[in-house]
């Protein structure tokens, strides 16, 4: 069985109903720089990692579990991710 190696790119965002003072502060800084046409600024985080597994499905299931249990707090955050196969180093 050939192992699957994939890079996961994970986006973590505050849930829409959660106040995001960091995003609001960034948004308030923009008009002074000439960008008064920006709204809805929200700041999250991006995580990358490489997983080796048996199949893309198994890797996807594991990344999903890693997001739920460690990489995000489901009370206040949502997440999405993409997977891209990568060659052996």
């Amino acid at each position: 069985m050939t192992a699957t190696r994939a890079r996961a790119r994970i986006v973590v965002m505050p849930k829409p109903e959660i106040a995001d003072p960091q995003g609001q502060t960034v948004q308030r800084t923009m008009p002074a720089l000439g960008w008064g046409n920006v709204e809805g600024v929200r700041v999250g985080k991006h995580i990358e990692l490489v997983v080796e597994g048996e199949s893309m499905q198994q890797v996807s299931d594991q990344v999903d579990e890693m997001c739920r249990r460690l990489l995000t707090n489901p009370v206040i955050e949502t997440y999405s991710f993409t997977l891209e196969q990568v060659p052996e180093p």
Binding site: I18, A19, P21, Q22, L70, N73, V75, I76
Partner: protein, 220 residues
């Protein structure tokens, strides 16, 4: 018989010595428990102190909740043992799901290091049994992520509320307990209000309640 309280030390905890001091003032035996050791060494109660466990990396308390000692803390809590989380300790308990909700960045995006007045709303927990309902305590806060968010669709058991909400917490919540009441987290630092020369002795009531509660459990 003097109750024995274990105070957990994570890499980055910094309030454990003050908590030990405050517990000893109330007549308890108190000692430190390293996060990497699973054993609680037969303690009668557990305190998770303030600080910056794992540098608050990823999210505050996110990795500390998976420390070996936490497996025992979770079992201890399930069996009804008294577990108190102060500041970073509250954040760790919330990440572990031992108290409901989450702690997020202060609404004003300022690190708050100041006195706070809290009102006690629930005197039926092991940590507030020696208090009066509606009693006010003057205790310092020292945090950047103290903004409490409740879990969706569930009313948490509120134990303390701020008189003047300093950080945007939902309904000015300063501390909550688990449904059963034996696990509690609060953001203010009662161990920093345990001597009159610190500016307030109001924090002593929380440790006195805990010692009283654990002593009567052992006797009963």
């Amino acid at each position: 018989m003097r109750p024995n309280v274990g105070v957990i030390v994570f890499p980055g905890s910094n309030c454990e010595q003050d908590v030990v001091h405050a517990l000893r003032l109330e007549g308890a035996d108190a000692g430190l428990l390293w996060h990497g050791d699973e054993s609680l060494e037969g303690v009668d109660a557990v305190v998770l102190p303030g600080g910056f466990a794992h540098g608050d990396y990823l999210r505050t308390g996110a990795m500390a909740r998976f420390s070996p000692v936490m497996r025992s803390v979770e079992a201890f809590a399930r069996d009804g043992g008294a577990v108190l989380g102060i500041c970073n300790g509250f954040q760790i308990l919330a990440e572990a799901g031992l108290v409901p909700g989450a702690l997020t960045r202060n609404a004003g995006l300022r690190f708050l290091c100041e006195w706070a007045e809290v009102v006690i709303e629930d005197i039926s927990t092991p940590f507030t049994g020696a208090c009066a309902s509606g009693q006010r305590l003057r205790i310092p806060i020292n945090h950047y992520e103290g903004n409490y968010v409740p879990p969706a669709g569930a009313e948490p058991r509120v134990v303390f509320r701020y008189v003047d909400n300093p950080n945007g917490s939902w309904r000015s919540v300063a501390g909550v307990a688990s449904e059963a009441g034996n696990v509690m987290g609060l953001m203010p630092h009662p161990e920093r209000a345990c001597e009159d020369w610190l500016g307030s002795e109001d924090g002593r009531l929380i440790f006195a309640s805990l010692v009283q509660s654990v002593s009567s459990r052992a006797a009963g």
